[in-house]
Each structure stands twice: as structure tokens, then as C-alpha cells.
């Protein structure tokens, strides 16, 4: 608690997300989800359960809407972009699947409303949730337009992992007790591991070195994860890298409306107009018309 801090220069923190974020980021982890390839098979979701110690809540609690699926695959039957004429006797064009995990917004609406600063932005551009600090006011979840924050309504661990199921729990992250909020972390424990390794080898983290559980298991590689800044190995950037895909589809961070030269490019972000500036870009689903 020093006064000099008050008078210190905080300009680097005063950058708004429109100016590329309010941190001088080391990384900016982002995702690209190709709905042209996503088949909605649930592999990512179950992989998330396995990686992140997500409890199985059972039918009753699921019915109450108290399930803990950090990564849920949403399924919609209608296709507004193909016009109402497509609505017919049968579901001729199948379903629309959207895997939804925390969008890691740069201007995260959940952050400013937390009374105890339990959720904040890391220098990785991640929207971190500090379980031990959370008091469970649940304001963040109310203010999340994606409804992607999940609350421990019970001490789920008490009956979610009857022995020996609990031997599968991942020691790299905690098992949450009742009363705290949680959400997708982009597998921060995996990011941490790779960063530590890179530090030990005294080298920067290379893009593509880190795989989230959902990305790693996705059979059709519909999910891509990577560093959107890609400061450390820009020369090695592949066209399939997240950073390159964002550029290719002319989607930029820090905007609530993208002005693309080519309007037909598929990249878009969900609820972008709310200016939450999510770090997950979706590529539009494709159908023969």
C-alpha cells in the first residue's frame, strides 16, 4: 500500500481492448472452430470431463440445469441463413452443431462485476478464475451472455467419483468444492506445463506446442488452438495456425463489427455485437444448397 504506486505510470494497463488489450500480452490464446468440420460427436466434451475433473451430476441435477459441462455442444435445428424456405417436412440439412466453451473474452463482462476480483485477465489473454478467491456471488455468470460459467451448487465430489473412479482425477488442477464458480480455462494446466518446460529449456513457447484436450481429441480437427499474437515464431507460422486463420478470415480482435473486404469469408464471433471481444472464432457451417 504505497502512495508511489498511485502516482506510478499505469499507461500500459490503461490500453483498452480496442487498442489490442489492456496488457502487454506475452501470448493471446485463441481458438478457431470450423463448423464445416464439426460433427457434434461429443468427443471434445468428454475429453474435457476427463482432463478437468468435471463431476457427473446425474439425471436429477442435470434436469435442474446444474450440470458442469465446461464444453457443451449446442444443437440447433433451424438454419436462418438459408432462409425459411429450407424449413420443410423433414430436417433435410441435418443439424447445426456449435461447440461452446468459455470464449475467453478480452472485454470479459464477467470480470468487472466480480466483487472480489476472483476472475481477472492474465498476461496470456486468458480469462482466469481463481477458485480460492471466489465467494460465489454468481454475478459473473449472470453477466455472461454465453452462459458459459458453471457454479458448484453442491459438493459434487462427494458422490461424483466413487472409489476407485477418483483415482482418475487429474492432479494438475483442483477438485472444486461447493460455492465456487468455474469454467473452461483453455486447459491452463497444459499451458502451464509447456511454459514451464520452455522456461527450463530457456526458449519461447512455440505456437502449436500446446494442445487443449478438446482440440487434441477432435477427430475431424474442427477445433484449433493457438497463440494469436504468435510473437515468438512468426516466420514458422502455418496457414492452419490460429493467428493465420484469423487473418485469413479477416476477423480482428478489439472490434464489435468486422469490416471485411470479402464479405463471404466464414469467420465470425458469437455475440460479437455486445463488444465482449471473444477469442474464439467460428467458421460458418457449409451446406449444399
Amino acid at each position: 500500500m504505497s502512495l508511489s504506486n498511485l502516482l506510478g505510470d499505469w499507461s500500459k494497463y490503461r490500453k483498452t481492448h480496442e487498442e489490442g488489450g489492456f496488457h502487454d500480452y506475452e501470448h493471446m490464446w485463441g481458438m478457431v472452430i470450423d463448423l464445416n468440420k464439426c460433427i457434434g460427436c461429443n468427443a471434445c466434451s468428454v475429453a474435457c470431463y476427463a482432463e478437468n475433473n468435471l463431476p457427473v451430476v446425474g439425471k436429477e441435477k442435470f434436469e435442474k440445469g446444474q450440470a458442469m459441462h465446461w464444453l457443451r455442444i449446442e444443437r440447433y435445428w433451424d438454419e436462418p441463413d438459408l432462409g425459411e424456405s429450407r424449413v420443410s417436412e423433414y430436417q433435410h440439412h441435418g443439424a447445426s452443431y456449435v461447440p461452446m466453451m468459455c470464449q475467453q473474452c478480452n472485454a470479459a463482462t464477467c470480470e468487472p462485476v466480480c466483487p472480489v476480483a476472483a476472475t481477472y485477465h492474465t498476461p496470456d489473454g486468458l480469462n482466469a478464475q481463481v477458485y480460492n478467491r471466489c465467494i460465489g456471488s454468481r454475478y459473473c455468470s449472470n453477466n455472461c451472455p454465453y452462459r458459459l460459467r458453471y457454479f458448484n451448487f453442491y459438493s459434487y465430489y462427494e458422490d461424483a467419483w466413487p472409489a476407485p473412479l477418483h483415482m482418475q482425477l487429474n492432479p494438475d488442477l483442483s477438485v472444486r468444492d461447493k460455492g465456487v464458480m468455474e469454467k473452461c480455462t483453455f486447459c491452463v494446466q497444459r499451458i502451464r506445463t509447456v511454459k514451464d518446460k520452455a522456461k527450463m529449456d530457456d526458449r519461447p513457447v512455440m505456437d502449436g506446442e500446446i494442445q487443449t484436450a478438446c482440440m487434441q481429441t477432435c477427430p475431424t480437427t474442427a477445433i484449433k488452438f493457438g497463440d494469436m499474437l504468435n510473437l515468438h515464431s512468426p516466420e514458422k507460422a502455418q496457414p492452419t495456425d490460429v493467428s493465420q486463420l484469423w487473418r485469413k478470415h479477416q476477423v480482428e480482435l478489439g472490434k464489435h463489427t468486422q469490416n471485411k473486404q470479402n464479405k463471404d469469408l466464414r469467420g465470425y464471433r458469437i455475440h460479437e455485437g455486445l463488444n465482449t471481444d471473444p477469442c474464439v472464432m467460428f467458421l460458418e457451417r457449409v451446406r449444399e444448397v
Binding site: R72, P112, C114, R133, C134, I135, S141, F151, F153, G179
Partner: protein
């Protein structure tokens, strides 16, 4: 019709008010028992919730908030009445407030003490509640001063402190009277609380200043408190919450429910303590008129909100509005409109205003409407907001209902204790009021004085309640 008759003898005032504090009658104990019974529900439910978690309360994604927050706003709102009647009317010198402001202020304090419980009840880890306060932590961790919830913590604690002190300061001369007439533990208590008040001109002088200053501070404070509570919602980005008119809307609603509550308590006290001479029907009428005026303001603000959404053409907000009209919550919404905007028109009828039984029912109806309003603010938005996949309708479970129900018992309990320990009518100010009215009523001051000097009965000065 007079607010109060000028012929009431000062001795009688003391006698009546002090009598109301005498050892209670049967009816009192019954009401205490009832309140304790209601409170038991809440305590039981809260213990259960504390042990199991928030799940049994039927909170879920997306319904992270529900009755707890709604009721929290309801109680906060009710607290505004005391400030309104006491402070504002004091400043503008409307002396008809004098017989009734004391219990109104008490209500303010106790509703705040009730409201303050709800944030604690509703958070997931209430044993860490103190983290929202800015205390010096050796880890250098602070609350997030950006969060409206922290503003709440500041505002409500300030409001509770100030209004409690306001109540206390206003009571000091009466406490002195009690001291002079009490015996036993009450004597000790009042001697302590009256801070050695003897009523010399110095004390009166500073008292006047202090009371006026505090009144002046309390009004903006009250307004700010409910604006801040409204910003819990207005600051968010959710449709139906992110509304510019929320601060005034909340304040109006607050005053509204406060006045309605005052009417209810007014009738009860008048009935229990036979305060007919002080809490007269004409004062009642004034409160009713005030309530009606505020009800109209509230209705107007409702219309403003709806139409601004309607013409604003924000698709999501519009969906939400329509779902309030036709959706699953429609019955409650229209009930709120009826109780909040239609029912108050009964206050236009003199016969009804003067009919205590009717007013009892009506005032309770108004408060039901106000409670529904808070619920209709909190829950529909959560049910239906931006993300269709998370649309959901969830009804609160018994846990929530028990705790809400019990909170009324808690409030009642506090109030019942108050009326037996403290004078619920301000004696010295009623005296002032009577004197003032006499000045108005009679020509010459001298005659007034002489009539008064002839008031002296042999027993008039006798100390002690038993003499009365």
C-alpha cells in the same frame, strides 16, 4: 379535520407513550411467537443450504440469482420510507410527520438489517463474505472496486449506520423522559442512552443543528443507496437489466413500498397502543395521498421503460419484454401491474382512505405488488437473455420460499422489540407540534400561556409511570 387536537395535555402525552412501553399484553407475546415461528423456517432452510450448497434452492445456470436478490431489493426499498417521512418532511417543515416519523425511522433501520442478511444468505461461500470489504490484507488483496456489489457493501453499511444514528439522535430527548420516569434496568439503560440529556438551551441548540444536518445528509444518501442497488442490474449487459431509467425507477419503487409499509405499521400501532389521538386519520390521509402520488410516478416510469425498449428496437430486449407480457412469468407480471398501478387508485376515495380495515388490506396489496416487481426484474432476464441454448424457466424451491417467508418474521421481531424498549411516538416533538398548533389556533400568545399555566394539576409533575 385537524391532524392533532391542541387540547391534549402534555402530561397525557408522556403518560400515553410511556404506557405503550409498559410490560406487554397478551397480544404482544402472541405476535412475538408468530414472528419467531416464521423465523424458524428461515433458520432451518439456511442451515440446510449452508451444509448442502445452493443446489436445493433451485438455482441453476442461468438462474444464478432469484428470490434472494429480489427480496433483498424489496427490503432495501422499504427502508426508504423512514428517511422520506422523517428527513424530507422535517426539512420542508411539515409538522404532521412528528407523531409518526419515529416508527418510520425504526422501520428504516430494521428493514436494512433484514435486507443486509440476503446477500450473505445468497452467496455460495458466505464464510468468506467479508472479502468484499476493503480491509488491509497481508497479501495486498482488495475487493474489486468496480463491482456494483462492492458499491452495495459501501452504500448499505453507510445507510444503515447513518439511519440508525439519525433514529438515535432524534430519540435522545425522549430517552431522557424515559430515564426520568423509569426504574430498574430500564433506568440504567435510558440513563446510558440519553447521554445525560437535561434539555438546557445549549443542548437544544446543538441538537437542532445536528438533527437538521443529519436529515440533509440522509436524503441524498437514501437516493444514492437505491440507485446503487439498481446499478447491480443497470451496470450489467443483460437485456431488461441494462436500463438507463433503473435508478429513478428503483428509488420510486422504494419510496412506494416504504409508504405502503408505513400505512400498514401505522394502522397496527394505532390499533395496538390506542394511539388514536396522535396517529389521526388525517395524518393517515396525508400519507395515503403521498403514496398515491409516488404510485403514479412509479407507473409512469414503468411505461417509460417498456416504451423505450419497444421503440429502442433491440431485438433481444424486445423478446424479453414480450415474454414478460405473454411468457411463463406473465401471471406474475400482470399481478404486479395490478397491485402496483391499479390498486393505488383506491387511494383516491376519501371513504377508503379513512377506512382502516380497507387500508390495511390495500397497503399489504401494494407491497405484494412491489415484491413481485423486484422478482420480475431479476428472474425473467435470467430465463431469457442472449443465448438461446440457455433459455430456461426455473421456479424457486421451498428453501428460497422459507427464507423469504422467515425474513418477515425477523423484521417483525426487531420491530416488536423496538416498540417495547423505545418510545414509538416522539413525545417532545408532539409537544412542539401541539404548541405550534396552539399558536396558529389562538390569537394572543399570552392567552395560550395562561391557559397553559392553568394546566397545572396536583399530579401533573409526579414522576414515575405508576402515577399515570
Amino acid at each position: 379535520m385537524k391532524d392533532i387536537s391542541e387540547d391534549i395535555k402534555w402530561a397525557k402525552i408522556n403518560k400515553d407513550v410511556l404506557r405503550s412501553m409498559e410490560s406487554p399484553r397478551m397480544g404482544y407475546w402472541v405476535s412475538v411467537a408468530v414472528c419467531l415461528f416464521m423465523l424458524a423456517f428461515a433458520v432451518g432452510a439456511e442451515i440446510y443450504q449452508y451444509n448442502v450448497g445452493m443446489g436445493p434452492a433451485n438455482l441453476n445456470v442461468p438462474h444464478m440469482w432469484d428470490l434472494y436478490i429480489a427480496t433483498f431489493i424489496f427490503w432495501i426499498g422499504m427502508s426508504h420510507s423512514g428517511t422520506l417521512l422523517s428527513a424530507i418532511l422535517h426539512i420542508i417543515g411539515a409538522d404532521w410527520r412528528k407523531p409518526i416519523y419515529r416508527f418510520a425511522e425504526a422501520m428504516t433501520t430494521f428493514t436494512l438489517m433484514t435486507a443486509g442478511l440476503f446477500p450473505i444468505i445468497h452467496i455460495g461461500r458466505l464464510w468468506n463474505m467479508y472479502w468484499v470489504l476493503p480491509y488491509f490484507s497481508d497479501r495486498g488483496i482488495w475487493p474489486n472496486f468496480r463491482s456494483p456489489l462492492v458499491w452495495d457493501a459501501f452504500a448499505i453499511s453507510t445507510y444503515l449506520t447513518s439511519s440508525a444514528l439519525f433514529l438515535f439522535v432524534g430519540m435522545i430527548p425522549d430517552l431522557a423522559i424515559c430515564r426520568d420516569n423509569a426504574r430498574g434496568w430500564r433506568k440504567k439503560l435510558y440513563t446510558m442512552l440519553s447521554l445525560g440529556w437535561r434539555g438546557d438551551d445549549r443542548q437544544w441548540r446543538h441538537f437542532r443543528k445536528t438533527y437538521m444536518i443529519m436529515a440533509c445528509f440522509l436524503i441524498p444518501l437514501a437516493v444514492s443507496v437505491h440507485s446503487i442497488v439498481s446499478s447491480d442490474f443497470a451496470v450489467s449487459i443483460m437485456p431488461g437489466w441494462h436500463v438507463t431509467t433503473f435508478p429513478p425507477y428503483f428509488v420510486a419503487g422504494a419510496l412506494y413500498s416504504g409508504c405502503a409499509a408505513i400505512i400498514t405499521l401505522f394502522i397496527l400501532l394505532r390499533y395496538y397502543f390506542r394511539f388514536e389521538e396522535y396517529m389521526t386519520l388525517s395524518i393517515m390521509e396525508k400519507v395515503c395521498k403521498l403514496t398515491f402520488a409516488i404510485a403514479m410516478v412509479w407507473t409512469y416510469l414503468n411505461i417509460i421503460e417498456f416504451s423505450s425498449v419497444w421503440y429502442g428496437h433491440d431485438a433481444v430486449a424486445k423478446e424479453l419484454l414480450l415474454s414478460k407480457f405473454y411468457g411463463p412469468y406473465a401471471p406474475y407480471f400482470w399481478a404486479m401491474i395490478f397491485f402496483g398501478s391499479v390498486l393505488p387508485f383506491t387511494l383516491c376515495f376519501r371513504s377508503l382512505r379513512r377506512n382502516l380495515k380497507a387500508m390495511m388490506v390495500i397497503s399489504i396489496g401494494l407491497n405484494i405488488g412491489m415484491w413481485l416487481e423486484r422478482w420480475m426484474i431479476v428472474t425473467p432476464t435470467l430465463s431469457l437473455s442472449y443465448h438461446p441454448f440457455s433459455f430456461d424457466v426455473m421456479w424457486p424451491s421451498w428453501v428460497q420460499w422459507f427464507i423469504v417467508f422467515g425474513s418477515f418474521g425477523w423484521f417483525g421481531l426487531l420491530f416488536l422489540v423496538f416498540v417495547k424498549v423505545f418510545p414509538s411516538v416522539s413525545m417532545y416533538e408532539v409537544k412542539e407540534m401541539i404548541l405550534h398548533r396552539r399558536h396558529l389556533a389562538n390569537k394572543g400568545i399570552a392567552e395560550v400561556m395562561h391557559r397553559r399555566s392553568s394546566d397545572k394539576q396536583p399530579d401533573s409533575g409526579t414522576p414515575g409511570l405508576e402515577g399515570a
